[in-house]
Amino acid sequence: MEHSKNLFKHTKKTNKTLTGWLFIAPAFLCFLVFLLIPAVMAVGMSFTSYNGFTEAKFIGMDNYTRLFEDTYFLQSLWNICKYVLMYVPSVVILSFLLAVLLNQKVPGIRVFRVLFYLPCLTSTVASSMVWKWLMNPQGGLLNQILSALGLPACAWLNESKTAMMSIVIICVWSTLASNIMIYLAALQNVPSSVYESASIDGAGKLRQIWQITLPLVAPTTFFVLTMALIGSFQVFDQIWVLTSGGPAHATTVPMYSIYTNAFRESQLGYACAQAMILFLMILAVTLVQQKFNKESLV
């Protein structure tokens, strides 16, 4: 009888485990087939001279040696560091501040939330083409506004000094919405009683944001920061549509270099090596950021 009971319990537990695995099977299969296996294959391919047509030939570390002698790939690494340093703080700070504003209980606030969310719904290519018109140095809306304010016109996408900054502006605009929504959800979980107590103690709005809101949404900030960091290293769409890596390689980033080497030059092995370097960079930055976050919590 006891044995039957134990057997029944074991079978019930096994069934539950099996059911769980079956439910995650579709997603796991997708992850395996479209992410994990190709990633492992890419590691192997990075040690070959595979061109997509002929058999892959093992060439050892030649691709990696070539990487560090490739001036333009090294420039792409420098460009992406500049992009990350401009993009990540901007998107985290702006999305937090806008979420705080959108969390106010004022009439019509939902309309503003919808408007701020709209960029998330637009196609990257379509919005990039609109930005290209806005940033036209010769009569684009942005330069007209600058001119009306008595400020000098900007070259925006047409010169290497301003092209990367222009790409950052476009990317921040298009990715703010999703981060705002994440912060908004976090802010709405902050109990209002905390703010009431702070108000009674005489704390102003700014002090409340600095000493109450920010610490309480720290886990969300960590999440947004991590996702922004990972995403920023992989910027591609806007550069492909607007600048093709120019002018003068000013907006050439690793993803662009990987794409052109793989699909224009048919140098898949070399492109995989570049992808590995990008992966290691993202991994290193993420680990450093996580360590820093753990230490600050302690």
Partner: protein, 439 residues
């Protein structure tokens, strides 16, 4: 509830597994050759044999619309003559489409492509060598433009036939030049500079010369300055004093204010058609557009003007659109017959020039009245032989886009002097050639 949950989980997992298998099976079946084994060339007489298959022969090209219609007209005439079933399919991104097709084993039978892609794909074994079969069919490749044939040759084998000759040159708005008292289009660098500077005084002109493409035309300017892009052994770039003269001339034009890097045409339009640009660089294939939309404009087309070096002549780099056969094409005999029929024919060679622009690649009609009487192309005929194709040295075609162009753009922005630019171009150019040699 628990039983139905488990059932749903099994159903979902099974559905995913089947759809994954379905994707693979679908890819495999779509890549299976429709006609069975790859047909082998019929050998002697294949080009003239009436026994060509009536199965579908797939022909890929990058255009649809008017150009696609014109290509279809040529194909229909061929099909009517030969009883074949050549079918044109537009592939807007031919490079990616071919790569996917080659991996899937479902390549077309014939492709219309830039000739400068041929050597790269021939090196990877993706294209069929046709020289022996052409010889067997009595087709003499010496009937075609020598430079164009050279561009399609890799390791002494021919991998395609040229459909036209396309060169980059200078489009000149003569209304603007006439307004400042200049009656002829520029033929030398000094005339070019004079015309560009004078044109800036005309109302509505924003740039005397649109130099946006000038960085990637460096080799054309070098050839027009009697320079040689590579060393004799092809191992290094040959950026000597003639190359320095090209960069110095570019800098002179920038300093004279005929172009600035912030220039873009209004409202995304073509600045040459709207009169904002007095002169601009484009290939002969652009004539089609300018004739269609600039019919009220008095413009002309001339080759890249002659440089200042001794022996310099107007000229530059030439290329062509070409037909080529993938190595694993199923109906290569029909594809080759189509190439021979339409490209080794004076009538069809001229028709292809209507479709693609430029000059005929067949020597016998290169000076045809069609070109000699054309108000735009006649200016180039005398200098056509001063054009040369890009070298077949690995990496050479990448020099302009990867190295020369960006460095010259930096110079245009004032980021480096012409001398510094030349030094960087030498260093990085040699490095690039070495990378491609070893790749």
């Amino acid at each position: 509830m628990k039983k139905s949950g488990k059932f749903m989980a099994w159903l979902l997992a099974a559905g995913m597994a089947f759809s994954m298998a379905g994707c693979t099976a679908g890819g495999a079946s779509s890549s299976a050759p429709a006609g069975g084994e790859v047909s082998s060339p019929a050998g002697e007489g294949a080009g003239t044999s009436a026994a060509l298959t009536s199965e579908e022969v797939v022909f890929w090209g990058p255009w649809d619309g008017d150009v696609g219609d014109q290509i279809n007209a040529v194909i229909e005439a061929y099909n009517a003559e030969k009883g074949t079933n050549v079918t044109y399919v537009c592939q807007a991104d031919l490079v990616n489409a071919y790569q996917a097709a080659a991996i899937a084993g479902d390549v077309p039978d014939l492709m219309l492509w830039d000739a400068n892609e041929v050597r790269r794909y021939a090196k990877m074994g993706q294209l069929k060598a046709i020289d022996e079969e052409l010889e067997a069919h009595g087709i003499d490749t010496a009937d075609f433009n020598d430079e164009s044939i050279q561009e399609l040759t890799y390791e002494d084998h021919l991998y395609g036939l040229p459909m036209n000759i396309d060169i980059w040159g200078l489009y000149v708005n003569m209304d603007i030049l006439n307004e400042v008292g200049i009656e002829d289009a520029p033929h030398t660098w000094d005339e070019l500079k004079e015309a560009a500077v004078a044109a800036m005084d005309v109302e509505g002109v924003k740039v005397g010369l649109n130099m946006k493409m000038a960085p990637t035309l460096f080799n054309s300017f070098l050839v027009a300055n009697n320079g040689q892009p590579l060393s004799d052994d092809g191992m290094t770039v040959n950026l000597d004093e003639r190359a320095q003269e090209v960069l110095d001339f570019y800098q002179e034009l920038i300093d004279a204010g005929v172009y600035n890097t912030q220039y873009t045409a209004s409202n995304g339009s073509d600045g040459f058609l709207t009169g904002e640009e007095a002169m601009t660089f484009w290939p002969t294939s652009m004539l089609r557009t300018y004739k269609a939309y600039g019919d009220e404009m008095n413009f002309t087309f001339v080759p890249i003007p002659a440089g200042r070096a001794e022996g310099a002549q107007a000229g530059g780099v030439q290329t062509s659109f070409s037909l080529m056969i993938p190595a694993k094409a199923q109906h290569s005999d029909v594809a080759l017959d189509f190439m021979e029929f339409t490209l080794h024919s004076e009538e069809y060679s001229l028709k292809w020039c209507d479709v693609l622009g430029g000059f005929s690649a067949l020597k016998s009609v290169q000076n045809d009245e069609k070109f000699a009487n054309d108000p735009y192309l006649k200016n180039v005929l005398a200098d056509l032989d001063n054009h040369q194709v890009r070298s077949d040295v690995p990496g050479f075609v990448n020099l302009e886009g990867t190295c020369y162009g960006p460095e010259i753009e930096k110079m245009f922005e004032g980021g480096q002097t012409p001398e510094q630019t030349l030094e960087v171009m030498k260093t990085e150019g040699d490095k690039l050639l070495e990378q491609y040699r070893n790749a």
